[in-house]
């Protein structure tokens, strides 16, 4: 491969520009003296290292902090953590800016009119407790709602215990849209557990709409796996099909651009080739699948099978015409995918629960069944339940969500259900709202509407490190400590194929008066005046982890060598723990950053195929109403193609907008300055939100890379930077979903821009992510 010098110069010129001529005076020398004086150096002290677990996204990376005296001066990956093995993503590295952010809240705040008053913890908890108690007294305790980011074990337990004392079951974790493959696994395999992906053992990964390298699953674990996948011999091959030239696309061996919304159809086209050229796994399909061939149910009714549906309805010329991918390329992709085992197909996220999206996820997962990659080495696996958490999460549906909770199992973003419930006011408006390190207002696609609804809630308590958009609406704000200042528990993050349970002690003392979220929740529970244990959050965590002692398997996290040694021992029937008592176990787990068990039993069909037939189902039940009921006829339950309901191209709004989530957007926290810098790093050092436009479209409109343009939809108009690229389809623009800066950030200028506010609404008030149209105007 050759790099053209012209291309290099063209792209790197941006950083050289601006270094023109300017006077250099003797003042430089005096500045030099000023900068090197003692006062500019922070205090020094002995160097030490401690382990913690990053909580800025659900990825669960182990981190090692370097301390100089009391100060934390570096956060790097923990080499012992089986999740990230010493690597770390840019957000984890930048977590120092979270810890030492000038906008951190110092003490509990109480709203008085339009201003804030500092109050003590005792008064804050006392006042909140008595208000909540009187809410219960009025019989509205069950209407208390708690919105949080994704919670872990004890914290989830403490939160639901607190709500339970009020008589409420409204613990809602706003975990974002579901992973398409995960939804398909649940529907087609009849299981509840989360899937895991055997990336390193796979020889071919086919991403259809899945942005593998941009925050999918546990991001650093994926990158480590990707590195091994590329480094092994034979080298793993990556194929990408999607509508945007993303990082994953640029890293793929074969990348094809397809019309937005035709991901599922492409998967069916690939299935057509696998079936017609007999490249599928005969044995697996015959023994472990149901609904591949035409079949009759117990009433004698005939049903169309997947094979005949694909052969009759999705010939390559049709697929090629709609997806805009040449027939030869589909053939090439399908032959490579079918011919390189083990192979793994991954679907994109379910950003809205539409027939098009769900069917696409099912069609992609059908490819995994066709190549026999279900619960086999290099395929889609199923996570084991956490050894310390026997309860299934979300056993009961929060009553606040009412009917809006129906689509959660299909991957609907819980925050959207919350917005719908607020918008409709049914079944009720909350009697009190508590937010736990979550900022639903900033994350909302309609911050204005949600803020107005929040203002009708009689009591809002926001547990937060910053005065976020949500906290600004609260009556009380309780300052939470960062993960580096708290005890941390971490369960297996989504996607990883081994059991992990992490525990870490605080790496440094809490900032000002802030407290760990777990301790704040325990304090709130005690403020209700009901009997609760007087143990603190750290003590509860240690008690729980001690339970691992009884398991008699697995090991304390260690180096790669320790891991191999341990595996060898276990395979030979030995288990030699490094600890002799539960206390010793807890001590070691906290020091090293976790406990894990790498054991995985492949082809354990009775565990991973839990449909009544014990098989993988090509035809699924429970999606009929979504895909059109009787009208869909025999296709109803099969993964077929339904075109996206994109709005008609109008005179005014002629660009279809695709929202995407870059890696820097995986964190649920306010953007940190270092992270904002690199988000714009690909746009000539301009921080913030950008819009990607096709080269020819840009030329027609007279738009140049790096200039500010207006993006206008029927709902809103935003000023963002343009990025002109050949990697964008004509008639389509791409915009990262997210917010540029926030009002508490001293580094950002101007008001924050939230790209999600462009999205058009459906009749159900939900954003139509894939269907919004915009126009571009030069500033």
């Amino acid at each position: 491969m050759k790099f053209s010098r012209r291309g290099f110069v063209k792209f790197s010129a941006g950083s050289a520009a601006g270094l023109g001529l300017a006077g250099v005076s003797l003042k430089t020398l005096s500045d030099l003296t000023a900068a090197t004086t003692e006062e500019n150096y922070p205090s020094k002290g002995p160097e030490s290292f401690l382990n913690s677990i990053c909580q800025l996204c659900p990825g669960g990376c182990g981190v090692t902090v370097r301390k100089v005296g009391d100060r934390v001066v570096r956060v790097q990956g923990n080499r012992n953590s089986p999740i990230n093995r010493g690597g770390l993503c840019p957000i984890g590295v930048a977590s120092l800016q979270y810890l030492y952010h000038p906008a951190r809240l110092r003490s509990p705040l109480k709203r008085e009119g339009s201003s804030w008053t500092k109050i003590s913890w005792d008064s804050a908890l006392g006042e909140i407790g008595s208000k909540l108690s009187s809410t219960v007294g009025r019989g509205e305790g069950s209407h208390v709602v708690m919105l949080s980011q994704e919670l872990q074990g004890v914290l989830r337990q403490v939160a639901s215990d607190f709500l339970g004392k009020l008589g409420s079951n409204n613990l809602i974790e706003t975990s974002g849209p579901g992973d398409g493959t995960g939804v398909a696994v649940r529907l087609m395999q009849g299981v509840q557990s989360r899937p895991a992906y055997d990336l390193t053992n796979s020889n071919h990964i086919l991403c259809i709409g899945c942005e593998l390298l941009e925050g999918w699953s546990s991001p650093v674990w994926v990158m480590k796996g990707y590195s091994q996948f590329r480094g092994k011999r034979p080298r793993g091959r990556l194929t990408y099909a999607g509508s945007r030239q993303s990082v994953t696309a640029t890293k793929a061996d074969t990348a094809v651009q397809i019309r937005p919304g035709t991901e599922g159809l492409l998967a069916l086209g690939i299935a057509y080739v696998l079936i017609s050229e007999r490249l599928y796994d005969f044995e697996f399909v015959q023994s472990h699948c149901q609904g591949f061939e035409d079949w009759r149910d117990e009433n004698g009714r005939w049903h169309l099978g997947f094979r005949n549906m694909v052969l009759e309805r999705y010939p390559l010329n049709l697929v090629s015409e709609v997806t805009e991918v040449p027939t030869e390329r589909i053939l090439k992709i399908a032959r490579e995918f079918g011919g390189t085992r083990p192979a793994l197909a991954l679907a994109g996220p379910i950003d809205s629960v539409t027939a098009n999206n769900i069917l696409a996820a099912l069609s992609v997962h059908a490819l995994n069944a066709l190549v026999g990659s279900i619960d086999r080495r290099g395929g889609v696996l199923l996570q084991y339940p956490d050894p310390l958490d026997t309860s299934e999460p979300a056993q009961s549906t929060p009553s606040f969500l009412g009917n809006f909770a129906q689509l959660l199992r299909l991957g609907k973003d819980p925050l959207e259900a919350v917005e719908q419930a607020f918008e409709s006011g049914k079944p009720y408006l909350p009697s009190a709202l508590i937010t736990l390190d979550a900022d639903p207002v900033s994350d909302s696609h309609d911050a204005k509407a949600l803020s107005e609804k929040f203002q009708q809630v009689p009591l809002i308590v926001s547990v937060s490190s910053f005065l976020t958009a949500t906290a600004q609406l609260a009556h009380y704000v309780l300052p939470s400590a960062s993960f580096l200042e708290s005890w941390v528990e971490q369960e297996s993050p989504s996607g990883i194929p081994f059991l992990y349970h992490g525990l870490a002690q605080p790496a440094t003392s809490a900032f000002a008066e802030s407290r760990a979220t777990g301790d704040i929740l325990l304090g709130l529970t005690r403020s209700l005046g009901v009997p609760v244990s007087d143990e603190d959050y750290g003590a509860l965590l240690k008690k729980k982890i001690a339970g691992l002692y009884e398991r008699k398997s697995g090991a304390v996290a260690g180096t790669v060598f320790d891991q191999l040694w341990h595996q060898l021992m276990e395979q030979s029937g030995w288990w030699a723990p490094t600890y002799e008592s539960p206390d010793q176990l807890v001590e070691q787990v906290a020091a090293k950053g976790g406990w894990w068990d790498s054991f995985y039993r492949y082809e354990d069909w009775s565990r991973t195929l839990r449909n009544p037939t014990g098989k993988f189902h090509f035809s699924v039940s429970g999606i009929e109403s979504l895909v059109g009921g009787e009208a869909a006829g025999q296709l109803g339950s099969l993964p077929h193609f339904q075109p996206p309901a994109e709005g008609p191209a109008s005179e005014k709004y002629h660009f279809l907008v695709r929202f995407f989530d870059p890696l820097v957007a995986v964190s649920h926290q306010p953007p940190l300055p270092f992270v904002r810098e690199i988000a714009g790093g690909l746009v000539q050092n301009n921080a913030g939100i950008w819009v990607e436009i096709n080269e020819a479209d840009a030329e027609e409109l007279g738009i140049h890379s790096g200039e500010l343009v207006w993006v206008e939809s029927i709902r809103n108009r935003l000023q963002v930077f343009a990025r002109v690229s050949t990697g964008v389809l004509p008639g389509v623009v791409n915009i990262p979903r997210g917010v540029s800066g926030w009002s508490g950030d001293p580094w950002s200028v101007g008001s924050p821009v939230a790209s999600a506010t462009l999205a058009e609404h459906g009749a159900d008030f939900m954003p139509k992510w894939g269907e919004t149209r915009v126009r571009l105007l030069r500033s």
Binding site: F3, G14, P90, V93, H101, L213, D253, W747
Partner: protein
């Protein structure tokens, strides 16, 4: 004598920019106010740039992290009038802030545009000064700075080896970007040692250097994406 070099394997790199942020944290590079960024005055010793490649299938873009290439024949040191930048015996292109007069000849001479001028004194909010690394000096307004291969880590590693009365091992010294890379795409070591991973990878058929035709002889060696 060691000759330090770095491999950047574009087949493993996921363009996540953890190296970019790790470098800023390690080397006390402040986050500029947004206005400065808009004037292209951001300092980023390591940065990600798009590279257009002429592959067999079609022209495509990929991304590559680029920092000082630590050339064996560096154009920057030839133009410095005050010897503020020079090359060490171990091949590290150094920058001596106290000598720099801010003429910026070097920034213009560098074909990789990886030298940065301090248009203003570095600034941190009072609270954020707590994470400053005591091992790296702060630069004043008016001087040029760039990647040092985390030279301070080399000095520290040498001190430790001396105190422990042993030779310096290659693994004792790793720059911050290499240490953090979540995809193990960055490898660092001694190019003189033919058994080291870097020298072995440098001999790979995938190895190339940026703008090789200029004769700068960089010690940052890229491995192209693909087989």
């Amino acid at each position: 004598m060691s000759r330090w070099g770095m491999i950047i394997d574009l087949d493993k790199c996921t363009a996540c920019q953890a190296c970019v942020v790790a470098c800023k944290v390690e080397n006390n590079i402040p986050s500029p106010p947004e206005g400065e960024a808009l004037k292209n005055r951001t300092i980023s010793w390591m940065k990600l740039i798009p590279l257009r490649s002429e592959g067999s299938e079609s022209e495509r873009t990929t991304y590559a992290p680029v920092a000082c290439q630590h050339c064996d024949n560096p154009p920057c040191i030839k133009v410095c009038p005050v010897d503020a930048t020079n090359i060490s015996d171990e091949g590290i292109v150094r920058q001596v802030y106290s000598r720099c007069i801010g003429c910026r000849y070097c920034t213009n001479a560098c074909p990789y545009t990886v030298r940065y001028f301090n248009w203003s004194a570095p600034q941190w909010p009072e609270e954020s000064k707590s994470y400053l690394n005591p091992d790296v000096s702060l630069r004043p307004k008016g001087v040029v700075e760039k990647c040092t291969f985390c030279n301070h880590r080399l000095q520290k590693a040498k001190e430790i080896a001396r105190l422990e009365e042993r030779e310096l091992h290659s693994s004792d010294y790793v720059p911050a970007c290499v240490e953090i890379c979540p995809a193990d795409a960055l490898v660092f070591g001694d190019l003189e040692d033919s058994a080291s991973e870097v020298s072995q990878l440098a001999r790979s058929p995938r190895a190339f250097r940026l703008q090789e035709d200029l004769g700068t002889e960089p010690k940052v060696i890229y491995l192209s994406q693909g087989e």
